[in-house]
Structures are given as structure tokens and as C-alpha cells.
Symmetry: D2
Subunit: 187 residues, 4 copies
């Protein structure tokens, strides 16, 4: 079971990344910092004669990471009650990628991935973050990706998530669950 | 009453822009194509010693357009059940802009602007677009911007919005409302 | 095409009923005033040995009305951001009715009914009524009932809905749509 | 700190009640079984000459329980993606109660109560129960009642909630929190 965290924050060690770290504590995993990839915004050419055009950027690296994964953790700060634009930019490009001959197996592979969402916000996120959770649900439904679980944390200052005992507890619970699955797998 | 449309699509003449055009038919207005501006993703430095750093991009032009406006129309396609990453990128940078000494009156001015949201999607948008409307509401609440109204249209193919009679009717209604306000203003 | 309005208000001629009247103007239809029916709250006995028990109340009349209908209009005031308890009481009992041998064809028939939702509230209903719309969606999804459309009106005082030009316009649009379908049917 | 659980289920010992029991484990509390009270549906007479009429039922007992409480736990099964009609019926009547001269201090007292929501559903409740959480939020906002926290559990069969380790963990967390507050109070 390979686990990849997609880190949507603009800074390393942000609260949502820290919370995701608890989820994978003592479990092998990889991280993709979206901020370190050069990903161009999607240009919607679905309906033009030639369709989408090849884009020269780092999206291949992202798709490679996804293709290797069994579990994807979407870790993003809540900016303006939604995911960061860095993460949204990556997701928007999926519209092109799932139709791209370069990635013939992407769409099928996505159906096998379990999605976990870890978000942290500062303004009443357990209420005002709920539309974001619903959007993830619609997105995973569209892709036929099982939506495994989500954790909403609350923090404003750097590392403040460490004080959100409720979120940490849920991360620990999820960590246990992943470990027991890994263990069962090895049997 | 100055009206500005913020166009969030990656292509000119997209469905959401067309629908917004009906809202401002025969009314003076300006358009800002976000796709034509170079806007860097926000780097969250709120909590560092020096705070946000000056960014050398086109955000000034956006703020200028906002500062001149009494009505802002956020016109965006629904990509993955949310606004386009182009528009999200612009909104994320607001966190910096409203704290920026370069724009001392931005925050106050935003409180006087009426916001209109015009979104068009292809996958059951009148249901699956609702979380996006809620996020706009939370955003405008945070900024104390009155949320005037929203229109959700349905379209997949280019110009297909012209067949969504329900959305067009709502755009016509809003157009009449804006015109009567403009007329009252000139009295 | 038989149309039935399920009226969820506690008073006759309430705003949501008036708005639904515009939807069916000049179209034959029936009305069921839920307030005039004696419907007992559901007692959840799904998991007991004997299952649900026969209930001696007016639910049969409701099921009869549903079985005759091709279009159901759920017209309810928004009380506390949700449907009236009168309507909720009726819907809760569906859990029993769709399992009841007395109504062997109910479940299949529901799949053929188109649902229309007409709600009116006084506290920012076009935003704060959205969770209610989402709940109707989930409910209709569960029943495999096509969710045709919804209208959200705003009113506090009796008959104030008559001033909500936007809601009236949508009702008129829906009225035209239903009429043209009826016309096509008769051809 | 007086804690009252409002039990919205139609059966004693239902899953939502069991989950609420974990929240108050080893803490003094009271329970009100709404199913055992005779509460008439609201008749909306806000706008009639004489206003609301006195209702001869058990609502007084409910108001008494509320007036004695510092913490209210709303425990309800999720029926059709919303609260039970039993609970909705009780909440709808609040519209009358907060305007009723019989209860002159109710409205003020509600502002001092902390609300906890405990809901259990069988059909993907952590996603499909979110609109219900939003409605509680709007309701508490209207009443200026602080919304302390919510727990969403998943269960279908009786007592199946005992297997939802994630919900139980959150109940235990909340239990600890309440205990430490009680302890601090006694100091």
C-alpha cells in the first residue's frame, strides 16, 4: 500500500502538512509539494478541433506520483473556505490528464485509489470548511475514487494545529487504521 | 454605478462570460480577463517577521479595477465543482492585498461593493454548484461585501448557455434590476 | 401528466403554496394539505422481529395521491432553515411506506415521478435554504426520483411572496415548461 | 454546569442516544425524550391579529428543561438526511416559544447555552449529514447560541454505533473536555 501526500500549502511545514504527518506517522509514504512543481493553469480546449494541447511543465511528475499510489492524501490549508489555488490548479488540470493519451491508465488507476482529505483553516473550519468537503466528494464521485475519510483541523498561527487535540486524535485514529491495513496486507 | 466583470475562464467568450454579458446588456461596464494577468500564487507569510513581501506581477491592475467598481461580477466556469483555479488564485491573493499598505483603502472599499456571482457548469450545477455559492457567501461575509445575487447556468459545449432559458431569464431579471438602479441614480 | 402539490405549511394560502400556485397556473392539478391529514410520527421498527406495525392514520390517502401523480411539487415554508415539521413527518414515514406490503408498487412508482421543490423563507433563503435543497437531492437520489427543479422564494409577511419578482419569474418559467410538456403529451 | 440531552429518536436506546451517552459518561445530566412529550405542530400565526395562541401540550416541560441547562445536546438519528420529525417539531415550536410572554427569559437564556449536536445515520452520514450540520449552525446563529461541537456517527442496525470507533473517540474527547470544564468550575 503506497501512500502519497499531495501538499497544497505555499509553505513547507504548514499546519495541514503537519496534520497529514500525524496520519502517516511511522508509515512509509511520499510527499509531493505542489508548490515546487511548475504547473500551468488548464486551458479548456475540450471542444476545439485539436483538443487539449501538450503542456510543457511538471504535470508528468504529478501523474507519475499518482500512478504509484494506492492512497492519496490531499493536504491543503483552507484559503477563503476552499482549497489553496495551488491545489486547485493541479486538480483543474486533471480534466486534461484523464483524457490524455500520454496517461492511458490514469483514469482506471484513479478508481483504485483511496482518497483522504486533510484540511486546516482558521475561521470556524468545522463548519465553514464543509462546502469544501462536499466538493471533494463530488470530485471523487466523478472519478469513481473511494473517499475514505477527512479531517478538519483548526489553526491560524504556524504549528498551532499541534494544539487542536480533536484533529490530532482523528489523525491518530486514521494512522492506526492505515497501520492495521498495512499489517493485514503483509500477512 | 460602475460595474466590473471579473472573468475567470481560461478562454474568451466562455459560457460564464456569455451569461454575465446578459446581466450587463446595454449597461456600461468593464471586463478584467484574469487569464491575461500575470498573478503569482500567494505565499503565506502572514506570520513571518517581515510579513508579506512585495510581489512583482499584475495584481495592481486588478486592485485598481476593484477600487473603481461599485458592483463586481464574479464570472467563472465551474471546474470540479468550484471556481476556476485562475479565479481562486486571484482571490487567494486578497489575503495579502487587504493587509497591504499599497492599497490602504481596499478593505474599506470592498465593504461598499455589491457582489454578483455568475457560474456555469456541466454536471448538475444547480445542485453540485451549491457548495461554491456557500463559499462565495463566506468570503463576502468575511469582507463585509454585500452578496447581491447569484445565477447558476448549465452548459457543456461552447455557447450552450444560450439554450439555458432559465439562466438567461435570471440574467435578464438582474439586468432590469441594475438598469432601474442606474436610472434611479441619475434622477 | 398528473400534478400534485404537497402543501407543507401550517396555514392555507401561505407563501410557499402561493408560489406553487404560479407553477401550476392554468394547469390541472391536485393539492394535498398535509396539515389536514392525521399522520403519526414514524416509529423505527425496521430491526425488530415483527418490523413496522400497521398505523391507523391518514397515510393511505397520501400514498394514494402519490400513486396517481406524475409530478410531485413539494411546497414548504422554510422553518429553521429546513422543511416544516409537518412535511418532515410525512417524509419520515416514507421509510415505512416503501417497505409496506400494503403499497406494493410505491417504490417503483416513485422512480417515475418528477419532483419539484418550492420553498419560501424569510432569512436569506437563497443562501441559507441551500442545505435544504441538498437534502431533497439526497432524498430523491435515494428514491431514484428525478429532481426536476427547485425555486427558492423570499417572504416574511403573508402574501409577501407576490413581491419577489425573481421567484415569480422562475415559477412562470416552470409553468411554461410544464404546459409545453402537457401540450406535447396530447399530440 | 447542567447538561440536558434532547433525545430525538422514536425509540429508546437508539444509536444517537447511545453516542450521546458516551459524551456524558460519568457526568451528571438529564434526558428529555421528545417522543414521550405531546407537542403539537406549530401553527404559524405570527402575522395574525392575535398572534400565536396558547397551546395545551407538553411544551412547557421542554422549556423548563432548557431553562435549567447550560449545555444542550441535540441527539437525533438522521432520517432522510435531516433530523427526525420529532425533533423538528420541537424546534419549529421555538418560533412561538421565543415570542411567548409565558417564557420571558427564554430568548436570553438560549444565548448562554452551549449546543452540542450528536447525529447518527446509515447512508454515508459524514458526507450526507453535512447539510444538517449547516442547518443547526444557522439555527444556533439565529438564536445566538454558541455551537460548541458536533459528532457524526454511522450506524444502521441497533447498537451498531458501538462499532464506529471514530465516533466513539470523538465522544470520548468531548467527554474529557466537559469533565475538565466541570472540574475547573468547582475549583
Amino acid at each position: 500500500m503506497k501512500i502519497t501526500i499531495l501538499v497544497g500549502s505555499s509553505r513547507k511545514g504548514g499546519n495541514s502538512e503537519l496534520l497529514a504527518d500525524f496520519v502517516v506517522q511511522d508509515i512509509e509514504h511520499e510527499k509531493v509539494y505542489i508548490k515546487d512543481l511548475y504547473i500551468r493553469p488548464i486551458v479548456d480546449l475540450r471542444h476545439t478541433r485539436n483538443g487539449f494541447q501538450a503542456v510543457n511543465d511538471d504535470y508528468d511528475r504529478l501523474v507519475e506520483a499518482i500512478m504509484k499510489s494506492d492512497v492519496l492524501i490531499f493536504a491543503t490549508p483552507i484559503y477563503w473556505y476552499s482549497m489553496s489555488s495551488l491545489m486547485k490548479n493541479m486538480i483543474d488540470r486533471l480534466s486534461q490528464a484523464i483524457r490524455d493519451e500520454k496517461y492511458p491508465n490514469l483514469r482506471e488507476h484513479l478508481k483504485t485509489i483511496r482518497a483522504i482529505v486533510v484540511v486546516v483553516g482558521g475561521d470556524d473550519p468545522r463548519i465553514k470548511g464543509l462546502p469544501l468537503i462536499q466538493q471533494f466528494q463530488y470530485t471523487f464521485d466523478f472519478l469513481n475514487m473511494p473517499f475514505s475519510s477527512y479531517i478538519i483541523g483548526e489553526a491560524n498561527q504556524p504549528e498551532e494545529i499541534l494544539k487542536d487535540s480533536r484533529a490530532l486524535l482523528q489523525a491518530a485514529w486514521l494512522n492506526e487504521k492505515l497501520k492495521s491495513e498495512l499489517y493485514a496486507e503483509k500477512e
